[in-house]
Symmetry: C2
Subunit: 420 residues, 2 copies
Amino acid sequence: MATSPIWASRSKTRGLVLDVIRAARTISRVELAAATGLTGATISEVVRELMDDDLIIEAGRGAPTGGKPRRLVQLNSVARYSVGVQLERNTCVIVVVDLAGRQVARTSFQGVASMPPQRALPLVSSQVDALLATATVDRDKVLGVGLVTYGPQDRRAGVLLTPQPTDEWLDYPVTRRLADSLGLPVLLDNDAAAAAIGEYWMGAVDPRSTYGCIYMATGIGGGVVVSGEVYRGGSSNGVEIGHISIDVNGDECPCGNVGCLENYAGPSALVRRAAATPGLAQRLALDPDAADFLTEFTRIAAAANAGDPTARELVERSARYLGCAAVTMASLFDVDVIVLAGPSFAVAGSIYQAVIQQEVDRRTFARRAHPVRVVPSVNGSDAAAIGGAVLVLQSELTLGHARPEDEARPVPSGPPRWTI
Amino acid sequence: MATSPIWASRSKTRGLVLDVIRAARTISRVELAAATGLTGATISEVVRELMDDDLIIEAGRGAPTGGKPRRLVQLNSVARYSVGVQLERNTCVIVVVDLAGRQVARTSFQGVASMPPQRALPLVSSQVDALLATATVDRDKVLGVGLVTYGPQDRRAGVLLTPQPTDEWLDYPVTRRLADSLGLPVLLDNDAAAAAIGEYWMGAVDPRSTYGCIYMATGIGGGVVVSGEVYRGGSSNGVEIGHISIDVNGDECPCGNVGCLENYAGPSALVRRAAATPGLAQRLALDPDAADFLTEFTRIAAAANAGDPTARELVERSARYLGCAAVTMASLFDVDVIVLAGPSFAVAGSIYQAVIQQEVDRRTFARRAHPVRVVPSVNGSDAAAIGGAVLVLQSELTLGHARPEDEARPVPSGPPRWTI
């Protein structure tokens, strides 16, 4: 097995072949050559190398097509793993995924993001350790950790550029500290961007398409993927759809903008509106002062699903606001698909999907050019955490470029221990 | 001189070297190697080939840096030309630019876009012929024509997907007809995207940056450029910033959306508002029913510039609406710069720039990550037409990929006549 630190540059060719194998699930060498445009000789060589590295395995023979049946290859999904950690305002979700992006272990716990990082990160670290142990995943096979959060970030430096959740998080070296305590490489990214790329990795979208993701948890974020890579812009702080204005005369948001989508469509806005609707508030026993307003939001969403007309009206109103922003996303990024991801679409997702689809169909500027489909995420509530893990896989295995400085490496002690 | 049809695939290497020479104006072979990461041997070979093709020339010697002074090369700007044609609602602008993107001839005329294409395109064609003759540009050196318009398009098929300006234009094969009548290749693109790429070609922006362009003529469009290439999305119909909603409760727009920016900030909205302001309407002798409302708009903009407080208030209000959309552009595309281009920024551009800058500074979500500068276009009112010509240069010379089917080729008659 070749040994090299995971930071070593990977060839684009190798990454391309691996990505096509992943997307196809099983594929022959001849089909690989056709799909990649590479010669048979190059494919044979790369396939041999990937097998030597244990990343792919033989997968029997394909259906006969005239000549002798072709030997197939597939990902060796248990060859490598990665970890996704999502820090949200209330909840921390940790997943372990295999090389195919499939979740093999999951845990979640409350309250960590409201602690200062000095207390929170050791807790996260010990939970990652425990999860890997429970899942009996060999630590030598773990490529790294994708830490995903909301709000502006400096990915390169591995720090958050927001004083949320608490003041201490601003400019604190989150990825470096987590990397040091875990002894694993850590990359920092946006939760919604992570959720978006997860769809690609899972094969849920046409790999050549441009698609968007609206991610709703306590807040609202967004991601766009162009031909299998996250749209980055100048500093990887784009697609902040929760903080675009849908009302130029609206109230000021703590972010500095006015009329932000999040304050109209997000769970806290809906809970606030529901609490001010006397019949409903009493019927659902809502506590407008609940610290975790997502519980209250879930009750309203469930009531809407169950046919409560007032609750349904509130959810539809939230969905229309989201529809307005979805139209902006479609008209600006020219997407083929908009994916709805995150825990706040879990209960009333079908109402959201129907209303947003209707708005996009009626209002997108270039709807004569092509339709825009609104679909639920294949990764559902855990899309961001799974996406965080997928970003590690993608960065290590398929993008094929040397590591940028946007990932923290644990302080070296002894020889490189990653073998891919 | 090598002869090949301009559709032939160009090597990426050759395009990259040419683009670096263009951006640097004059550069030595050693500096070229450093800037491109290519070996000295490769640079020598490509430079020789570009000289054989007459695309670059020697440019004297650089300042001594210890050793012997280095020989410099530069674009041979008179080696090739391209034509940009902008069809707007009222005006058609035609420019001829040289290989450096500098305008060498210009004409404009009224009324063509309100004719059906069967009448308009022969007129455009004869104006292009006349302009090339006046400028004494050798037709064999003309790479092609970039036709840029507003509204949804099918670039591949070379047709407009909108019944504007008149019903006959919808689905009419505009690029094929213009190519046939001119005997030149024609590509179709969006006017605001063209205006955006013109900034890059002129060296007005950091070549690695992500930047946006807000283009205002009678309507409002947008373009985004990422590392020197236009952001395309699924069908090249993105960044339609004039038709994003800034008021979810606003009136319906003919495009299908509600509260579209164009209806709040565009020239026609401003003229309408001014006409309803009795003192101002009389003082400026405004004709609210003028067919060409841009003339009325220009009067208001000039009055604002001259210190008329009512006119200034109206322009500032228009600028605030544009600022709201500029914040959306910045928060979604994560741009470093927003360029203001097009004829409707010509008169009161500095008022627009100041107000939009203020809004972006205060309201952009990730303003802690990096500032966003608002600047006027180096190409001013003709940015879209110049950009149309630049898109031809870029597509032929630097992108280095085989032509997609999104450009119409004249029906072949005799051997290929383009020599680059």
